[in-house]
């Protein structure tokens, strides 16, 4: 059973189609990257999944049942991109408040809050106010309040912004741990290297539509351009072969694009015939960043307003 199934979800505003027929599924324990340029409709999509907005059309299935915000909200943790906490409220009270709003009893809330505060070394913060915290510390607190109720679906929008590497790793480890325990995580960010590192599945959204869906490895395979790097003791010269084109020629390292109809073995064969000493040979897969740019490039940087005829 999938944790979440989104079927043909639509949300039209007067000036644009924010989400235009998006479908995807999310398995338990998977970490799912939701990518897209600014204004692509990610926030609207997330708001529908968290029950903040009602879709105009389409269906959301949560844990095998039609999504019912009143009931299912208790199993969802959402950390929005714009982090918001009550500035004048004591940190302990704030965490307790948010935990209880998620439906935890006072005793359970206290137990969970204490557990996480100890885990993140935040015990001494209890009586401080949010306004006393640095941005990174606020981020940590916000993460804790998001996962306090042990949600089955966790939605994190730019969770690492403003965090130093140590705290980033701390949260990253928690994300892995939560996924291992069966929570599904939707991870929305513009930092492609983080997606590549953390996510096992991605979708790419542009102009309200899904333009890419698959596991990170599959997507990379899909967009690979048969580029290989070969390390040589000495570059032969001249290099002339129908098998490949040289893209980049550095001492001891060549970047090659294999032409249609040839195989990597043909490349090796050519260099072996040239009596070149091969030190390494491996495929260069495109980074998600490159795929992202390739797919989104050509579309205007920010979304233009359009008239909607629903």
């Amino acid at each position: 059973m999938n944790r979440l199934e989104v079927k043909h979800l639509k949300k039209y505003y007067t000036s644009q189609k924010a989400v235009d027929d998006i479908s995807f599924t999310l398995a338990p324990g998977s970490i799912f990257g939701l990518l897209g340029p600014n204004g692509a409709g990610k926030t609207t999509l997330i708001r529908m999944i968290t029950g903040i907005l009602f879709p105009d059309a389409g269906e959301i299935i949560f844990n095998g049942q039609p999504f019912n915000p009143d009931r299912d909200i208790a199993y969802i943790g959402y950390m929005p991109e714009e982090k918001g906490l009550y500035k004048k409220m004591k940190i302990g009270d704030q965490a307790m408040y948010l935990a209880q709003l998620k439906g935890l009893s006072k005793a359970t809330a206290m137990e969970r809050v204490k557990h996480w505060f100890v885990k993140f070394e935040m015990e001494s913060w209890w009586n401080r106010k949010v306004e006393d915290l640095s941005k990174g510390m606020q981020q940590k607190l916000q993460f804790v309040t998001t996962v306090l109720n042990d949600p089955k679906l966790i939605i994190l929008d730019e969770p690492f912004s403003g965090l130093d590497p140590v705290n980033s790793n701390l949260i990253k480890d928690e994300i892995y741990q939560l996924a291992k325990n069966g929570s599904s995580i939707i991870f929305s960010t513009h930092r492609m290297e983080q997606v590549e590192e953390i996510c096992d599945h991605i979708i790419l959204v542009n102009k309200g539509q899904k333009i890419l869906d698959g596991s990170v490895t599959a997507v990379k395979q899909q967009f690979k351009e048969n580029i290989y790097a070969i390390g040589l003791e000495q570059n032969p010269s001249p290099i002339n072969s129908p098998v490949f084109e040289v893209i980049n020629n550095k001492p001891h390292q060549l970047l090659l694009k294999i032409n249609e109809g040839y195989k990597p073995n043909d490349v090796l064969l050519y260099f072996l015939q040239q009596q070149a000493a091969i030190q390494s040979f491996h495929e260069i897969l495109p980074s998600l960043s490159e795929i992202f740019i390739k797919l989104v490039e050509g579309t205007p940087l920010t979304r233009q307003f359009q008239t909607v005829t629903a």
């Binding site: 909200i73 959402y78 950390m79 929005p80 918001g84 009550y86 409220m89 709003l101 309040t145």
Partner: protein, 437 residues
């Protein structure tokens, strides 16, 4: 439902725990008390000024003796054998503050030739006292000229005061128009202030949530309506708490005050003739006030006050919440957006001041029934036996008005709190309000 309670609890505790809550709750009555105490102190301190006045009485009006008013502390010195022209320039040097010159005149005619010389303008109070003394002397002369003794004159003179008795079937009560309108005005004024202060408090709270982006975290756990109502009820409870504390303080002070200031003891008022500065008029005024206050239907007033406080506050708070959800970061923007909401409150206040003078005029009746103005206006009318039917219609409409506006503003609020960056136009707000969920 449980979540609404949590929101109410937070909104309430956050505000009550603040130091500023303590300051305003204790400070406001303290300021009021200091204000009144200083007014009373200033009032009592009158007549302590001791002026020395030189008098040349060429008309022989006063017979070398001034019949001074009771609280006239001035000393009158009659001077003979000196010309007014020389004294006019030398009275100051001889230690007098003023110089009163009464030239000879016919007592049967009014004169304008009496002069009072001074370095600077004479206090109105002092001038009145001198005028009164001279009036008395002239009156006495005139009485003598027609052979009427002063005692005879006093027995002729009439001093009527009409008592307004209200017969409403149950109990015959003394009504004192002044006291009634005073209480009505204070009640209307309080409701007016409450709606403004606590209404804007709700608006600021909503703005805080929107600007700090708390709203988005919150609405992923609670419904926007719960968040809005929780805030409105929580802040309303803060207001009620503040009032309860004030009432306790005021009642407590009534018991404490006589211990510190014996003359404040209300029991001593009827025979307060001995009070320093207590003229017979002021004593009778205090007595009227007491009977007036006793004639006020306190039970009805307190019930209506609480009802209209809650109703009016809830209605306007939901409007203020909608406004708060629609402003962006700019504080000045809130000022201009809030204006249309303030208008009916101010209008209600204006109608209320009219309603006190003419409680049964069509404007007053309309104002006390129309839900946007009724909380303020009805409090201004409540003293004057409002027909029960009007009261019921007014209360019913207020409840319906609140439900209507809460429903309408909840829709605006729900969309508004998640809109960032841009100002929301009135057109958009109306569109959000009328579209189907």
């Amino acid at each position: 439902m449980n979540k609404i309670l949590l929101v109410i609890q937070r909104e309430y505790l956050v505000r009550v725990k603040k130091k500023s809550f303590l300051y305003t709750t204790i400070g406001v009555p303290l300021i009021i008390i200091i204000f009144y105490a200083s007014i009373i102190a200033i009032g009592m301190s009158g007549g302590h000024e001791k002026n020395k006045i030189a008098v040349i009485d060429e008309a022989n009006l006063l017979n070398n003796g001034m019949e001074k008013a009771k609280d006239d502390g001035a000393e009158y010195v009659f001077i003979t054998g000196q010309s007014p022209d020389s004294l006019k320039v030398s009275y100051k040097g001889k230690g007098y503050d003023f110089f009163l010159y009464i030239p000879p005149f016919d007592v049967t005619q009014n004169t304008t030739h009496i002069q009072l010389y001074s370095q600077s303008p004479v206090a109105l109070n002092q001038k009145n006292k001198i005028e009164k003394a001279i009036d008395n002397a002239i009156e006495l002369r005139r009485l003598q000229s027609v052979n009427i003794s002063r005692e005879q004159y006093r027995s002729i003179k009439s001093d009527v005061s009409i008592e307004n008795k209200i017969v409403n079937g149950r109990e015959e009560k003394k009504s004192v128009a002044g006291v009634a309108s005073g209480v009505a005005f204070v009640c209307g004024m309080l409701i007016y202030i409450i709606m403004l202060i606590y209404g804007t408090m709700v608006m600021r709270g909503v703005m805080e949530e929107k600007i700090n982006r708390i709203a988005e975290v919150m609405v992923s756990s609670v419904k926007p309506f719960q968040l809005m109502m929780g805030k409105i009820i929580g802040i309303g409870a803060v207001g009620l708490t503040q009032f309860a504390i004030w009432i306790v303080l005021i009642v407590g002070l009534q018991f404490l005050l006589p211990i510190f200031i014996p003359s404040f003891d209300p029991a001593s008022i009827p025979h307060a003739g001995q009070m320093p500065g207590g003229t017979p008029e002021s004593v009778s005024m205090l007595a009227t006030m007491r009977t007036g206050l006793h004639s006020v239907p306190w039970g009805l007033i307190i019930f209506c006050f609480i009802f209209y406080f809650i109703g009016g506050y809830m209605l306007y708070a939901s409007l203020f919440a909608a406004i708060g959800s629609c402003v962006s970061e700019d504080q000045n923007e809130a000022q201009s957006m809030v204006f249309p909401v303030m208008m009916p409150i101010v209008l209600g206040f204006v109608i209320m001041t009219k309603a006190i003078a003419e409680p049964n005029s069509p404007l007053a009746i309309f104002g006390s029934i129309f839900p946007l103005t009724s909380p303020v206006v009805m409090m201004g009318r409540i003293m004057y036996n409002v027909p029960v039917s009007q009261l019921i219609i007014s209360m019913l409409l207020l409840v319906l008005g609140f439900l209507f506006f809460a429903w309408l503003t909840a829709k605006i609020y729900r969309t508004g709190i998640l809109m960032y960056g841009k100002k929301v136009s009135w057109k958009e707000m109306i569109r959000w309000a009328i579209r189907k969920s």
